[in-house]
Symmetry: C2
Subunit: 345 residues, 2 copies
């Protein structure tokens, strides 16, 4: 029998199927490969993009030329624009403000044919350092209340350009699902003087059956009330509210965890399309509503990464109800990923 | 420049693109057609489904035989099971309960090759009467707090069986997005002694630029902060909290509105995959949390239908943030649909 499961972090229920659950091979399907005549994200095509904002250039090469290993550029077709004021105002019962924000592309490698999981641990760490650098820089713009880093891999996950890249979006308000997580974390902290995600990690380490990987630094596990099959949570085991405070050494450990997790997904689900998103606390000087609200307990949050392979379609029931139907029990998904044979990867 | 728009009903923001907005022809794409050797939903295949729960049989034919025009059956592969108790309990920090619920299929026509928009107004009205009958019947089961009716049309909208059908899911809790809508409606009513959706309808009728169709009975409009391109709201203009109170005459008018709206979508978007969902108030005896909470103001809600063509993919940013990026401004979408040429449909 399937179960409803409530996630105290999202304050949300999911339906977990049992019995007729889907297994990895049920999700294997033919996938399209997009081809481009000339990729703007490739080495030596630097003139096909807007000027770079950040780059990792170990050879000391000049900006907007070959020689980079990681490169950050403004999105040529941004969802939000960096210029202008918010101009927020009511429109009758509604409310509006201008689409002010930053939208950047983090090109993870100059090599068109490599994806994130193909990179070395050191190369992935440089991508993570680019995330950190861009987040720190954009915090100087007081219009932005929140900064998102996310990645879509594969056509089904909406990656329109196949060359491996992540995206950054900075927004002038706290997004609804982030606000929910911040609020549930805060309520838990205020009630118990403990971090909610620290408590969840402790419970998962006791239960063990949803853990995919535990290297003592980062914990990779399938959430109890996972909305999607093979959804994963990656969190530092040592409490930390802010990704940008991570040292180079910690980012190297995170890179190792991320690479290992991507290879497990590849081994079990045959290179599935996937998305991940970095959930971070809003920085202290970024405030929502009242000037001191998020600043008052800056460390009651716990940064983490949500990683979801795109295996199912979201349909009427899910978007209408907020319930997601997950056809693979988290414990089974974790077992498949935990036992993945990585010898060929 | 794009805009953030806040929807007081969902208490949620959406980003509305302007300037680089996508137009109907941008969404036209090749679509797969699923074929089945023998369709269990077809006329004369009644023995291939579980026994029927409801049927419209104008010829007075016996159950589970040919002669029906609309037929309701239990889903053979249900997401929820009708038997058993909830057994809700904590699991450490988590909460769980059994996946108790009803999952039914409303087969809208015996004809395999017709879809809902191909049916006559009278035939669609019979489908709506089936919705009403099943909702009324399931209210007798006090385990169910909410009853959902929804439809997925086309492969991309997750309709696995091409034969035209809707689905009913009854659940033992108020789904999160429904709870949000119920709460925002209640707060508005308590503050102003007016219905929120009545107020929205009034504002839309004054603005006029998001209205697709207004026959004086039902209003079809694109929500101000639509999450998806060409998303539509269909609501009765006369206040009504409960779909099951609609008379046969009202359902005939709704059928005409629904048919007209589907034909407009077909004309403008070339038979897109779509989903719709019927949002109804929970019945008075169905209570959530405190025994009298939803029962105390049974009529502060306003039933409506949300209709969304599936034109875009939801990716990392949307599911991680709760922000949806809508590439078509509601006013432009409404104009396309309002001016649809229906002469050939």
């Amino acid at each position: 029998m399937s179960e409803f499961r409530w996630d105290p972090l999202k304050n949300n229920w999911a339906i977990i199927a049992k019995g007729q659950s889907r297994r990895p091979q049920d999700f294997l399907q033919q996938r399209q490969v997009a081809e481009m005549s000339s990729c703007p994200f490739c080495d030596k095509n630097e003139d096909k993009t807007p000027p770079e904002i950040y780059a990792h250039r170990p050879d000391g090469s000049a900006p907007n030329q070959t020689g980079w290993k990681v490169r950050v550029i403004p999105n040529k077709f941004p969802a939000l624009r960096i210029e202008g004021e918010l101009d927020n105002q009511a429109e009758g019962l509604y409310d509006r403000m201008n689409g002010v924000g930053a939208h950047e592309i983090i090109i993870e490698t100059p090599d068109h044919d490599k994806c994130l999981g193909d990179l070395s641990v050191e190369e992935i760490a440089e991508v993570l350092k680019a995330y950190r650098a861009r987040m720190l820089d954009l915090r100087n713009d007081s219009r932005f209340r929140y900064i998102f880093i996310f990645k879509n891999h594969g056509i089904e996950a909406s990656a329109n350009i196949p060359h491996s890249h992540s995206q950054l979006i900075a927004v002038p308000l706290i997004p609804p699902l982030v606000a929910t997580k911040l609020n549930t974390s805060r309520e838990h902290f205020q009630r118990k003087e403990r971090c909610l995600i620290c408590d969840l990690i402790k419970q998962e380490k006791t239960a063990t059956d949803r853990i995919v990987r535990d290297d003592g630094n980062f914990l990779v596990y399938v959430p109890y009330a996972a909305r999607f099959p093979f959804e994963l949570m990656i969190a530092p085991q040592e409490h930390s509210h802010d990704f940008t405070l991570q040292t180079d050494q910690k980012l190297l450990l995170l890179a190792e965890t991320l690479r290992n997790t991507l290879l497990r997904m590849r081994a079990v689900l045959k290179d599935p399309p996937y998305s991940f998103i970095l959930h971070n606390a809003p920085p202290m000087h970024l405030r929502w509503g009242r000037p001191d609200y998020w600043a008052s307990f800056p460390s009651d949050y716990h940064w983490h990464i949500e990683l979801v392979p795109k295996l199912t379609r979201v349909a009427g029931f899910e978007w209408g109800s907020g319930f997601h139907i997950n056809p693979t029990p988290p414990e089974e998904a974790a077992e498949f990923l935990r036992n993945a044979d990585l010898r060929n990867y």
